[in-house]
């Protein structure tokens, strides 16, 4: 009796695992996540075979920033096929470059700029939408000394 129960439980878990995996594959092929936690067990880019850039800590003009969790950015090609792109609308990030190494620099500069312009700014000088963006950035990024 006990064995039977155990068998059923394992079987249910397998079904659940297959279901989640299929769901992720469907999501990643139709609408790939543009940014995700690199340490997540369900890495959408690994499942879909897309390339991605992993970023944790970086420095731009003596400003040291780090993502609270190592973040992975999904890399795609633009319509012309000449440029690599990363687009993360929720972070107001839209960068393109000729090479993946240049793309990494573009991402770093964009976050450093947004940190200075939005997160460090007095709320009163920002539009409401820029204030919301500052909140989002504050949740994922921090300064390190």
């Amino acid at each position: 009796m006990r064995k039977h129960k155990l068998y059923n439980a394992t079987n249910d878990d397998q079904i659940k695992d297959y279901f989640i995996r299929d769901l992720l594959l469907m999501q990643s092929s139709s609408n790939p996540k543009s940014i995700f936690d690199c340490n997540s067990h369900n890495n959408p880019s690994e499942l879909s075979g897309e390339s991605y850039i992993a970023l944790k800590q970086f420095t731009v003009d003596s400003l040291n920033l780090q993502f609270k969790k190592e973040m992975c950015f999904t890399v795609s090609k633009d319509e012309s096929g000449q440029y690599y792109c990363v687009l993360v609308p929720e972070h107001n990030l839209d960068v393109i470059a000729r090479s993946e190494s240049d793309l990494v620099e573009e991402i770093k500069v964009a976050y450093a700029y947004m940190w200075e312009q939005f997160v460090k700014a007095e709320e009163s000088i920002l539009t409401p939408d820029a204030q919301k963006l500052a909140e989002v950035l504050r949740e994922v990024l921090e300064v390190v000394s």
């Binding site: 964009a110 450093a112 939408d129």
Partner: protein, 92 residues
Amino acid sequence: MKSKKVISGLKKKGFAESRKTNHRIFHYHTKEGKRSRIYTMFSMGKSEDLGDPIISMMARQLNLNKAELIKLIDCPLSQDDYEAILFEKGLI
């Protein structure tokens, strides 16, 4: 499109220029003087002619389509018209 033309067009429509590393950044400030989330950035190494992919990226960053961006730079789209577009999209 020539980068000089783009830069001068943006500056006339409320974009403030700043520099970071080797990038030129144009950030939109509303007529009320508030700093919006809208900015566009390109590296100074980019050639004098900004190709189609760069123009497309700039248009996305400024929340316009390509035709609207060209109008913004060429003048028919005034700063008031641009703010009306951003307001409609809930961005200012």
